[in-house]
């Protein structure tokens, strides 16, 4: 008797708990559903266009010679993958971007840190670097070829130049914009210059540094195409040029898709590698 009443009471309590939960919960579940929906929404347009085009070519409404239907692009991609060509080209491109990115990013970080942390060095370095930045990077190509030859060195140099400037600007700007209030906390605890750099400046700069590196990486991929256009026998850029000269639009599109996938993968890798460093940030980064 008492038990049943008790259970009735707890049952009631439960239901009221659930009521409370139901009152509180919708925001989170709704958010999740809306979020999932939005991801699917992003797929809708490209998939619809691909299906429409596929249908149009299949039913003879359009001729797929210059704009090949998705099925032919996929077939080309898998053929390239089967012969192993795709991997050689993709690997070559990745290697160039990687080497160029490392050189460009390291020099960008070093010079950016120097010019961000010392006014004298900034006045010494910055005008020259800004002037160099104003030159379109592609304009260096002829000079690089004369200086470094037509092989890898000139290509890597071009990519490094492309990566350097956004990283340099990002790092220097990030250091200059570190909150004075946090620096004062370091001063109050009498940190030396080195300690201040390590314990306050470095962590404060990290989020913006990651963004600078990401935009540097993006430019690296942009410039690897330019570099491979100027004469390469391997690389995804070569596939593009080859496709144009041989009249194979499916190969061009296959290479473009490969670029998209590589670029996205590289960016995600960079983000994943740096996430532990900036986990403390009070932002909605997951959405980006």
């Amino acid at each position: 008797m008492t038990e049943s009443r008790e259970s009735a009471v707890t049952g009631q309590a439960w239901s009221s708990h659930e009521g409370a939960a139901a009152l509180a919960a919708p925001t989170s579940t709704e958010k999740r559903r809306a979020f999932d929906g939005r991801i699917l929404l992003g797929f809708f347009l490209p998939v619809a266009i691909a299906l429409l085009w596929e249908g149009a070519v299949t039913f003879g409404l359009a001729e797929g010679r210059l704009v090949p239907p998705p099925s032919r692009i996929i077939a080309t991609l898998s053929a390239l993958a089967q012969t192993g060509e795709l991997w050689t080209h993709a690997w070559m491109t990745l290697w160039r971007v990687l080497v160029g990115f490392v050189i460009g990013a390291v020099s960008g970080i070093v010079l950016g840190a120097l010019s961000g942390s010392s006014q004298t060095l900034r006045q010494l370095l910055d005008p020259t670097l800004q002037a160099l930045r104003a030159i379109p990077s592609i304009a260096w190509v002829p000079l690089f070829i004369l200086w470094l030859g037509i092989f890898e060195a000139s290509k890597v140099a071009l990519i490094a130049v492309g990566v350097f400037f956004p990283v340099y600007l990002g790092i220097a700007g990030a250091i200059l914009s570190v909150d004075r209030k946090l620096v004062e906390v370091g001063q109050v605890f009498r940190l030396s210059r080195v300690q201040l750099a390590r314990r306050i400046l470095l962590p404060a700069v990290l989020p913006e540094a990651v963004i600078a590196l990401r935009s540097g990486l993006g430019l690296g991929f942009m410039f690897v195409v330019a570099a491979e256009f100027m004469g390469a026998s391997e690389g995804l850029g070569y596939l593009l040029v080859d496709g144009q000269q041989m009249g194979k639009p499916d190969q061009i599109l296959a290479a473009i898709i490969a670029f998209a996938i590589l670029g996205k993968l590289a960016d995600s890798l960079l983000v994943a590698a740096t996430r532990p460093l900036v986990r403390w940030q009070d932002i909605v980064r997951e959405r980006l």
Binding site: K181, F189, R199, W280, Q281
Partner: protein, 262 residues
């Protein structure tokens, strides 16, 4: 003992923030600096903390002239100023870099207990409320056992309930080591709640207008008559301090108006 001798501060743009400040704060005393905005309260704290340099005069701590940040001086800023990339624990331990690990652990844990945030030790500052963040900031200053603690309107951004509870947390920490405290505030109630002496300041240039001893016994009853009387005395002093300089420009304006009328 903390003393100011003919302390003045003129900023590069010619603003006279402080002019000829002479004051002695005894060991273990809590002094509240009260005044309207622009009377140099914060400037005075920044000079003691070593974040700015005085233009003239000197600050002495137990006879030693202060120049630059001093290990025996701690400060709590108006904002919590926690380092967002450090956990609550590491934020409190920030000034204990030279202390060995066991001692650091013990001191920080004790401080966390005192401010009632033990279960939040491993969280990021962003997960705390404003009042909790300010408590962490107070603990960060106390944990190094400073001889002098400077508080720069640390409760001004908080609601009345949070403020009252933080006053208790602050007094609880203060009881343990009894550091000398210089508290800047524009809240008269707060000054009467915490301080042994109220120093009323006057703007343009910042200078000391009056000193009022607050001899109420602790813990102080905020609703009692003596409390009310003290508040009223300070308010009166503040009133006078603001009237005196304002008459000056008024007369000046009249003179100018007369000149124009001519």
């Amino acid at each position: 003992m903390l003393s100011f001798e003919h302390l003045s501060k003129t900023y590069a743009d010619g603003t006279r923030a402080l002019s000829d400040i002479n004051l002695t704060v005894h060991e273990g005393e809590i002094v509240a600096l009260i005044g309207g905005s622009g009377c140099g309260k914060t400037t005075l704290l920044r000079l003691i903390a070593g974040l700015d340099r005085e233009s003239a005069g000197r600050i002495r701590l137990d006879g030693e002239v202060l120049s630059g940040p001093h290990p025996a001086v701690g400060i709590v800023f108006q904002e919590p100023r926690l380092l967002p990339w450090l956990s609550v624990f590491d934020n409190i331990a920030f000034g204990l870099a030279g202390v060995n690990a066991a001692e650091r652990q013990a001191r920080v844990t004790h401080a966390l207990e005192k401010i009632g945030l033990v279960e939040h030790a491993n969280r990021w500052p962003r997960d705390l409320s404003g009042g909790q963040q300010q408590r962490v900031s107070i603990a960060r200053a106390f944990v190094t056992n400073p001889k002098v603690l400077l508080l720069d309107e640390p409760f001004s951004a908080l609601d009345a309930f949070t403020r009252a509870s933080l006053h208790d947390h602050l007094l609880g920490l203060w009881e343990e080591t009894r550091p000398t405290v210089v508290l800047v505030t524009h809240d008269v109630q707060e000054a009467v709640t915490l301080a042994d002496r109220a120093v009323v300041m006057q703007p343009k240039p910042g200078r000391i207008f009056d000193e009022l001893p607050l001899t109420l016994s602790r813990p102080r009853d905020r609703t009692g008559l003596p409390f009310e009387t003290s508040v009223r005395r300070i308010l009166t002093a503040l009133d006078h301090s603001l009237k005196a300089p304002q008459q000056q420009p008024q007369r000046e304006r009249d003179r100018q108006a007369a000149a124009l009328w001519w």
